[in-house]
């Protein structure tokens, strides 16, 4: 079993209204000096194989086909 974490983030230049709202809320709580907040998603996957190269290739295909919308999002894969 191989565990992996996929992180999906918005591409630069894509407006993130939720990140903006969180940024505002942090400021309202008194946290100073927040340059920017961008919201993303994290997926923890467990893949039933011992082959790390295959697991990584499969997860990349999952990102391209479903986990990320590559029009607006980037993704990164970290195997445990």
């Amino acid at each position: 079993m191989i565990k992996a974490r996929v992180t999906v983030t918005l591409k630069n230049g894509v407006l993130d209204p939720q990140g903006k709202a969180i940024e505002g809320a942090l400021g309202a709580l008194g946290f100073e000096g927040i340059g920017q907040v961008r919201q993303g998603k994290v997926f923890d996957l467990a893949v039933d194989t011992a082959d790390r190269a295959k697991a990584e290739a499969d997860i990349k295909a999952m990102c391209e086909k479903l986990l990320a919308n590559t029009v607006i999002e980037n993704y990164s894969i970290a195997l445990a």
Binding site: L15, P17, Q18, K65, L66, N69, V71
Partner: protein, 225 residues
């Protein structure tokens, strides 16, 4: 002209769409379920609005990967007209059948109100009943209708007449870039839009501004006038 309405778990505007198509074409559309891999011989396929798969992951993302979408893609490539309204628009974008993406509304609020649309391209098979520059009324109801496309894509769709409706001055309800409310594919036979023309087609709705869209797509402009 024959039409089909796609049904998926969580879509809830299918009945409105069926009523509109029946009223305007005089024939009830056939319904197609998400697992269907064959679509009957029709001239227009409509993906209605709602909250397919509970908007999980991203609006329309899971619906866009259902078997019926492959069948719709093949029909579209063969020239059949495809219309996606609201969640249907989100599904067509997620399926890669239209350019761009829809983000959370800039206000972060669900908007449910009437807006005004400017007809930007009156030469598509969905807008022939309107005049270029005409302003029509149309209801919107969505949380993720903030249209986005990168600079290059925007340049292409603006240049190729793929922007079909814009929110008229001062009525952009969601922060959409260039006030874009509806786009087509390059061939012009696939249209996606956030507003709901099916909810403004008869006196009981308080107007019939949305009727021209269905009359155009169903080729019954004279009958609907």
């Amino acid at each position: 002209m024959k039409s089909a309405v796609v049904q998926l778990p969580g879509l809830n505007r299918d009945r409105d769409m069926i009523a509109a198509l029946t009223l305007i074409s005089g024939k009830a559309p056939v319904t197609v379920w998400q697992t269907d891999t064959q679509i009957p011989d029709v001239d227009l396929i409509v993906i209605p609005g709602g909250f397919s798969y509970g908007d999980y992951l991203r609006c329309g993302a899971i619906a866009a990967r259902m078997p019926v979408m492959q069948a719709i893609r093949e029909k579209a490539e063969a020239g059949v007209k495809v219309l996606g309204v609201c969640n249907g628009f989100q599904i067509l974008l997620e399926a890669g059948m239209l350019p761009g993406a829809l983000m959370r509304n800039a206000s972060l609020r669900f908007v449910c109100k009437e807006v005004k649309l400017e007809v930007v391209n009156a030469e598509t098979s969905f807008t022939r009943a309107y005049d270029k520059g005409q302003i029509i009324r149309c209801p919107v109801a969505h949380h993720d209708g903030n249209y986005f496309a990168d600079t290059e894509t925007l340049k292409t769709i603006e240049g190729e007449g793929q922007v079909v409706f814009r929110y008229a001055a001062g009525t952009n309800p969601n922060g959409s870039i260039n006030d874009i409310a509806a786009v087509t594919n390059r061939a012009g036979n696939v249209l996606g839009m956030m507003p709901h023309p099916e909810n403004l087609i008869e006196a009981a709705h308080g107007g019939s501004d949305g009727r021209g869209l269905f009359a155009s797509a169903l080729d019954v402009i004279a009958a609907a006038a």
